[in-house]
Amino acid sequence: MTQLAYHRPVSAAEAARLAAGDPEAKLLAGGQSIVPSLKLGLLAPSALIDLAGIPELRGIRLQGRTLTVGAMTTHAAVAASPEVRSSIPALARLAEGIGDRQVRNRGTAGGSLANSDPAADYPAAALALGAVLRTTRRPIPADAFFKGLFETALEPGELLTAMEFPVPDRAAYVKLPQPASRFALVGVFLAQTGGAVRVAVTGAAPCVFRVREMEEALARRFAPESLAGIGLAADGLSSDIHGSAAYRAHLIPVLARQAVAQALG
């Protein structure tokens, strides 16, 4: 590893200032994605800005129909949180299924979202639940947050501070893991709130995306059968040794049907 500078700010504002002052610096949340990249030499930042010492970035709060999760809240904390389990159990289960025990103890919700890994679980939840992502500068609706492969709407020096998840009437997340990494080969998160349904897919493409056709069909009637006949084109979907684009396209309605059944169950 290179001899890089290491900062441990105590406030989000200080962290944002440090990041703004050094475009080559990297924000360090739980480090579960960054540290492997540093080790393999895939990343060589000038400095690391460790966010672990910023209390305001942690914690879970349920106010009315909004669940707020601090960016530095670990997956383990989300999975175990009574607030999450009572309001959006699907989100707790999603957190419980991320990586493994050790990853969940260190990895954070905000780190996962800011990284926008194409196979990560959180982006599917944020998008399907219509979360608002709070930063040191502004609120960003999830629909405007995910821009592409490892790419988000976050600007240099802008720091994700918390996510606000509207509590849905029903939600579920179903994924088929890639056999080795256990990241989602395809994951489908769907949420019903009032008459509206949102369906978000991760793992299948360079960036999480919504499936409007399914949303409309499920909005008409929230039942697995409503998805009958809805097929997805393989165009634009990812293809690798673990699954072709066609296989991923096939899996999306299959997992969506399972998710609907789970949400109803």
Binding site: L40, P179, L185, H242
Partner: protein
Amino acid sequence: MSAQAPYIGRSVERKEDYRFITGSGTYTDDIVLPHQAYACFLRSPHAHAAIRAIDTAAASAAPGVLAVYTARDLAGIGGLPCGWLIHSIDGSPMKEPKHPVLAEGKVRHVGDPLALVVAESAREAKAAAALIEVDYDVLPPVVDTASAASSAVAVHAEAPDNVCFTWGIGDGAAVDAAFSGAAHVTRFSFANNRLIPNAIEPRAANAQYSPASDSYTLYVTSQNPHVARLLMAAFVLGIPEHKLRVVAPDVGGGFGSKIYVYPEETALVWASRRVGRPIKWTAERSESFLSDAHGRDHVTTAELALDADGKFLALRVDTTANMGAYLSTFAPCIPTILHATLLAGQYATPHIHCKVRAVFTNTAPVDAYRGAGRPEATYLLERIVELAARELGLDPVELRRRNFIRAFPYATPVGLTYDTGDYEATLERALELADVRGFAARRRASEQRGLRRGIGYACYIEACGIAPSNIAGRLGARAGLFEAAELRVHPTGKVTVFTGSHSHGQGHETTFAQVVADRLGIALEDVEIEHGDTGKVLFGMGTYGSRSLAVGGSAIVKAADKIVAKGRKIAAHLLEAGEEDVQFSQGAFRVAGTDRVKTFAEVALAAYVPHHYPLETLEPGLNENAFYDPANFTFPAGTYVCEVEVDPQTGRTRIERFTACDDFGNVVNPMIVEGQVHGGLAQGIGQALLESCHYNEDGQLLTGSFVDYAMPRADDLPDFIVETVRGTPCTHNPLGAKGCGEAGAIGSPPAVINAIVDALAPLGVRDVQMPATPYRLWQTLQAARR
């Protein structure tokens, strides 16, 4: 829990466990020597390239760097030797191109080492290695096993068609005749997927030269340190064998991959003298993926001829086996001697012929991996038997029964003679344990949930305890395959056993102690097992091929019997009796029909304090060694039953039940034996469902980390139902032991695939290639629908 004699047959807790569960074991990477230096190897990023030039100037000048070496510096050093010589059908010897320690002129696989950097720290060595500039002329690679022999590109000039040898066994004419009269022929083509062993401890080495004694010490992750010393000293580096001490301390799993002599430790020994510092190298896992010897990788066509009653008439097999870029230490014997000779399985097939073509490719060397040839043979046989049963509309269990060998000894048409066995017994018991009767109801329940359930069988046999040296020699072995042991009885009657078998998870420190404690009638606590150090152990051929108890344990028994024989002489003198009147049992020498007795400890003390001792006819001391060369292979066998549930929508398979019923002959420690079966099952199920080494057409390894190479994890596997029947003891070794280390990995892949095919047969599926990942099953189902 303190156990008491007799120890054999009891699940004694392991003596070695304390150091492992407390983190106080000593693995190679844990060793730091005074003035320790560190190594990094520069590895080829290309599968196939000519090396035009290597510029090491910048690396040599980098901070902390002590030396940089390339093939040029190693001039005069031999290639890594291959321990087995196979002859082609036409009588010509196999092509044996040099396997240089550092690449000479050409790199032949991604990961091929071509420079060694030694520095003050591992970090500095790695940073400096990145500064080496290599001018490559990139060549098209040979990657695919099946088409290697027809490639226009040659991996080695010595083998222009990439063929290392074309070997055959069996009576081809008799097979042809049997096929022409057959009522039914079943054909089956498949690839036995290439695997990466992935012991959790990466390979490592630490080499030191001492000018004071003009000798070398090498600490290395090895399954057989004496063999490493012999090959490295005599064939590669030219160091006198007695000036090289090889220590394999605690080794974190091997599964075959740590049998071989690799370039890295060889280069380290050589460089340690030049640098004048001990040099340590520990593989990063990414390096392990690229440079450990891989396993399997056969492409095979098989045909089984049957008569109208379902009796097997003949089996014809044509296999192409990938050797990788260089011949690893035992590579040529795996698809030949350890594969083709097993093709009779448990069946009395009268005629068998197998042709094996071994090819070079621009991939990592391929050698023995748990099972080594026998999983490939078993997979072939147990799949084709299942296919035949399906084609003939017969119950696959019934078809197997009709063809079982039932009289022993049995000489197969492919060179082996099975000494003993009872295949019906393990089959019967496995069917009971697996609750095969209840399967139909379970299948209906699955179907009601939209899932497919299937059951699959495999009746395997393996040849273990390799091997009689003279037979192995006739088959091409360049080494003996005996094992050595020494028993050192201390004056207090405590015993240290030195064994040439290396333990890297097998529990020898317990099992061997149980054997010795019973043989000498002493407490388990009074026996200590030493292994893994050429400076302590007289000799050894090492641990592989499920041979440690059958061969290594037999050597220990022989040495123990010599101790008793000498002890009887001493006791006779002390008891003033005739030697023939002294009996030894339960740790005491007694004069028959009297109450005169000397304990084992008393006799030991007398041997070392020989005041009243027949010095004129007997040497003092009580120390014996023995070499044991087996009279035959051993033949463990059993039946495995797998039950799966497949989701035809996602293609995901869950193993619902897995039953293994084995006949290992006599068992010393049932708990350890079951553990060996569990581990083998996990690796076999891994091969069937998860694991596959994948190179792309450029020869780049796409499964080069645990992120893409799927290792079985705890929740991929079910609880196992494992039972060892009171079987048929091996007839030719003193323990009656057959070996248990590889059975699980041999018998399980076909059981799993047979179960999946059974589940999906109603959907038109005839075969599923390994590994049966969800994606693969979806593709298979798509093809079946068309």
